[in-house]
Symmetry: C2
Subunit: 693 residues, 2 copies
């Protein structure tokens, strides 16, 4: 478990709006970072003093070069370090000594390309001691469009996205893609090794930055994942969407897994759980990020899933409709009145149900498009319109139609504003003037229908989500000592989980006494095994003392267990077996999992994961999100089971996990849920090993 | 059931390589089809005579216009009809009368925009009578790059793809996307309403067309789907990949469904089954089609799933690796020897396991790229290399590196050829000269990593597929009369499916006699119900005559069934319940389905579908493709079940279905599969209704 660091806002004034900037290592050589950054710094010269430092002195980029920071005529509050590796530490020292308030360390220390090395720790420690904010090392720089601060190797497009990236090249790619989509950056920070300043610091900073309307991140290293998620949740609550590009690494080798929960609640699922809790939109590629950003930044969000598809020609509309259906959007049949109004002025072959096919009507009268979209958006029958195919191309082929398309584009944008409902456009002609006009008037325009539908579907589903809430961790409870089966039962039962009655016994006599107390039939378990059932260590339905004794002796001979458990026999008949577990994730802390138990757990991998602890509504949502949820509702004539009791068990397990950082994995498997309640039939605890406890 | 039409090859010489072309309706008006097509026809004037026909005579497009086809100096063997709707029929008649061998009907007949109208049938009938090939009506034209035949409204890029499209606008979009990817068309036909010539005719034609290396189709209307699939399978066997862009319509309302099989074996799954059988690659969007075509046309196909990911910078490699893993590709750890050779000349921070991160090595020495790719492709340790990120951009930022990148591109293409293993490239700079060079030298280049990985994953998986085989239908068997439960059992048992013993009875006395013969415990079923079990019409485990009598009287009072079935009680304990069914699809004929039965069938929708009849290997493949396949292999300590017996049952059901076109749906549910064999516990037949039988 990583300790939660202080979440106080850092003062980053000198980083984003310095009075004076010094670039140490500035160079005339066009293949050097010191050249690119020096030129970038000089583009802001009319806003602030820019000093170029090079130990050889002379002139660099047409300016006098200072031999050291000490030679500057005034202190530079922001110092960019673009020197060879061995000179990084002395330069950082000099920057601190000469009054820097922020340092951007482009170069990594010697042999210290990877994050977390001893030299990273050394310079970060010195910066923190001195109260100086340090970005990097091993980063690409910092950019603020409003402040004309361009301490980056390449020009970046200006816009409304605040970008935080751990990878330089990915930031460059995002810049290219943003520009193509007519978007750009309000600020950009390259995180590098995050020796001092980290992702969460910048999420907090951008949440308060007026020119930033959307926060985009690429990171693989979340540091304190809870703090990260909490910072993102605060930004989302403040109305700024957070889009996270991240991946999980294949982890088979990375983590020893000793329970089903451990195997199923993967690191990827932990990231998903954190994103869900915080309201973060997670994406997996740069294109996905920019496509989603376009949908979030342009036009109002859809208020529901109902969409009308509009095309001029059958193929495009049909493809869009099928994809929309797969993306969870709904294409309602339109009312007779609306269909009649749509039909006016369209060719007789036009299809006006949904999808709507103008059937050449656009070619005959280009205003068929805006007339139809206005009717649809104003009807109240759909939450969004998806226009797909040829629009933008009429003027490509017939020049006289260019003015027509432009005026349609204006009318479409007006219809969106008037009705406060979004229009998504996919066009074969993304470079057409009409497409550009639409983008500039705030209508999202996509080159491919799959991208348009994916984003629209995602925004529509987001309307059904609860607001983000990253649960705080309770104070740690008294750590558990052992981790054997009786202790696991005791711990969970104390937390509120209902168990079948059980007694731990060592001999046949003790077993008989226990069984008499519980009442036959009973179950006998051999203790001390990780997966009792798979190892043949569980005998069900023992009807009398003779059967119990025989079973105990057989188990003793075969498995030599340290002890046995005699337990009540639950009526599994009409119930559903669930798996409820929790795992302590190294970045995001405790996560809780629920899934179909028994035979199907690992085969179908049908589970829901959430940050622990959870409350009842989230536990209910988890249960209902399972593919197997119909079983809980009572599929095929079976009675519905007590879902509330199942949800309570999830809540209890999540709370126990959250209070016990010394436990790595914890599970109830199965939890038998019937019409009458939920009963734990077995449990399992894996304590942390070595230093991680 | 649609009748299988003759699959004789049509003579399409006059369509693709006419001696003389006439465009009827040629026009000077730049917004008319007659203008676009006339201009297109004239672009081939140096190859053949082109006659423009306009009933007003005079001059059109700078050529004399003929008033009618009868006025031409020679017969036109190809006539393009671009006249107003009411003139289509007379023009077709005139074309036939004046010796046309092929007709392209651009315009649809009056009020006949949709396919299959009476006027379509009339002109198609006339054309067939006269032995003339008719394309359309309601189509966009025809194009042959080699013959300089451009009877289309827009110029199209020339290349190696034969495109058959039911939608004009989609064909235009595919043209734009192909051109962007450096690809183009050998031939293009716009199918229109397919009144005469249909998709399968052109698949057969293109399979024999040397300049066509890949056949791409967009269609929603398959006509005789078996013939379509068989034509595609023949093309694939002849070495020409077939890529099909199609969608299925939401069909809840379209088809009454009376069995689980009917609900699960949807029209979309029928298309998938046909594609699998024929070896067709199915896609859902124009972009997917072009991206896949690029992968199929450029570079050798991968021979397996092992891939090395190569990037210059951590983020790109990590994202590509995660996506590759999700796409079913494998990133093997590379051998120590290979890693050591990769390391030579790279920065010490370079990561050389897999993914490989040059860590700035490309910037230091651009030939790090080709050196690494050569080592990887030549190692035998991977089947393909996926290069991602910045390559192409070095020369964007530093002009002196342009020559370096170009020579790397050449070297990369050479490495591919030398090792006969593919390199897939994703670059942030798809317009860079190096990217263009790669494409021209046969290396697929993608703008987005998700597209590159999707295609590579798809090609790698395709290596594991059996060759395509579209099963022929057996001659129809004697149609079944009734469709009640005893008849369903009889039919399937005669087909080889093993059932539990059963007797149909009407009275308690008959029931007792039957039970005595079968042996207690028995099962009692009330007949005449669609879903006996869901309706509470099945009583299990009747241990003696008294219990049987009580159960029968209870069922009689509650359900008033016409009869009962007394059956043997199977030992469900350690077995797996499967659903095996078949459905007669309106386009593709009989399809067979297998899935997890019992409670989970409809909840999990874990099924496999294939064209019926199937043989044992395909039935085995279907079973193993289920998500629940581990249950058959014996999950969590349970014994493996008799998979061969289950596969045999699938074969038997598929054969019965294929021999009975009068049956719409047919199913065994459940089929109990244990270690000792497979036993049908219930069955159900839905006869065709009305004319569809």
């Amino acid at each position: 478990m990583s300790a939660t660091r202080s979440v106080a806002r850092r003062d980053l004034t000198a980083l984003f709006a310095p009075r004076a900037v010094a670039v140490v290592g500035a160079s005339d050589d066009p293949v050097k970072w010191g050249n690119w950054l020096g030129r970038g710094a000089l583009r802001g010269e009319r806003r602030r003093a820019v000093y170029l430092v090079n130990r050889r002195g002379g002139e660099v980029l047409g300016r006098p070069a200072y031999r050291s920071l000490g030679d500057l005529p005034e202190p530079a509050d922001l110092v960019v370090v673009a020197v060879p590796a061995q000179a990084v530490e002395p330069t950082v020292e000099e920057a601190i000594a000469t009054g820097a308030r922020a340092i951007v360390a482009i170069t990594a220390g010697e042999s210290d390309g990877d994050a977390g090395g001893p030299r990273d720790a050394a310079i970060a420690g010195r910066a923190r001691e001195a109260g100086v904010a340090l970005l990097g090392p091993n980063c690409l720089g910092v950019f603020d469009a409003g402040a004309e601060l361009e301490l980056v190797p390449n020009p970046l497009p200006a816009g409304r996205i605040g970008l935080i990236s751990q990878s330089g090249n990915l930031a460059l790619e995002l810049g290219i893609l943003a520009e193509e989509a007519g978007l750009g950056f309000s600020r950009f920070v390259s995180l590098g090794n995050q020796a001092d300043l980290e992702g969460a610091d910048f999420i907090r900073e951008l949440a308060d930055h007026d020119a930033t309307e959307l926060i985009a991140l690429y990171t693989e290293d979340f540091r304190d994942g809870r703090a990260f998620a909490a910072a993102a949740a605060a930004a989302v609550s403040a109305g700024k969407p957070v889009v996270l590009l991240t991946i999980e690494h294949s982890e088979a080798a990375a983590r020893a897994v000793r329970s089903h929960t451990g195997a199923l609640a993967s690191e990827g699922r932990a990231i998903d759980a954190a994103c869900r809790a915080a309201g973060i939109e997670r994406v997996r590629t740069p294109y996905e990020l920019i496509h989603l950003a376009q949908g979030l930044l342009r036009g109002p969000a859809p208020r529901g899933r109902r969409v009308a598809v509009l095309a001029d020609g059958g193929g495009h509309g049909g493809i869009a409709a099928a994809l929309a259906h797969d993306a969870g959007l709904k294409l309602p049949l339109l009312s007779d009145g609306l269909v009649a109004r749509l039909r006016e002025g369209l060719p007789p072959t036009a299809a006006c149900a949904n999808p709507i096919d103008l059937a050449g009507g656009g070619e005959q009268d280009i205003h068929s498009f805006d007339r139809s979209v206005r009717l649809l958006l104003g009807s109240g029958e759909v939450d969004a319109v998806l226009m797909t195919g040829y629009f933008g191309g009429y003027s490509e082929y017939v020049e006289t139609m260019a003015r027509g398309e432009a005026s349609v584009a204006e009318a479409l944008a007006d219809a969106v504003r008037l009705n406060d409902r979004p229009l998504f456009v996919q066009t074969m002609y993304p470079h057409a003037r009409a497409a550009d006009l639409l983008r500039r008037r705030g209508v999202p325009v996509y080159r491919s229908i799959e991208r348009a539908v994916t984003v629209l579907g995602r925004l529509a589903r987001a309307t059904e989500r609860r607001p983000g809430d990253v649960a705080a961790l309770p104070p740690p409870a008294e750590p558990v000592r052992g981790a054997d089966y009786p202790e696991a039962r005791r711990l969970l039962a104390a937390g509120g989980v209902r168990f079948v009655p059980a007694h731990t016994v060592g001999s046949t006599a003790e077993a008989a006494k226990a069984a008499a107390e519980i009442g036959y039939p009973v179950v006998l378990k051999a203790l001390g095994l990780v997966h009792k059932s798979d190892a043949g260590g569980v005998v069900l339905g023992l009807r009398d003392e003779a059967a119990l004794t025989r079973a105990l002796e057989e188990l003793r001979a075969r498995l030599r267990p340290p002890a046995f458990s005699v337990e009540g026999m639950a009526a599994v008949g009409e119930g559903v077996e669930l798996l409820v577990g929790a795992r302590w994730d190294r970045r995001f802390g405790p996560i809780v999992l629920v899934g179909l138990g028994g035979l199907y757990t690992e085969i179908l991998r049908d589970v829901a994961v959430s940050l622990a602890p959870v409350e009842r509504p989230e536990a209910e949502r988890m249960l209902l999100s399972l593919q197997a949820a119909p079983l809980l509702r009572g599929a095929r004539g079976r009675p519905p089971v007590d879902r509330a009791a199942a949800a309570e068990a999830v809540v209890h397990v999540s709370r126990v996990a959250a209070a016990h950082p010394e436990i790595t994995e914890l599970e109830v498997n199965p939890l038998l849920v019937t019409a009458d309640g939920a009963l734990a039939l077995d449990a399992h605890v894996v304590p942390a090993v070595g230093e991680s406890g």
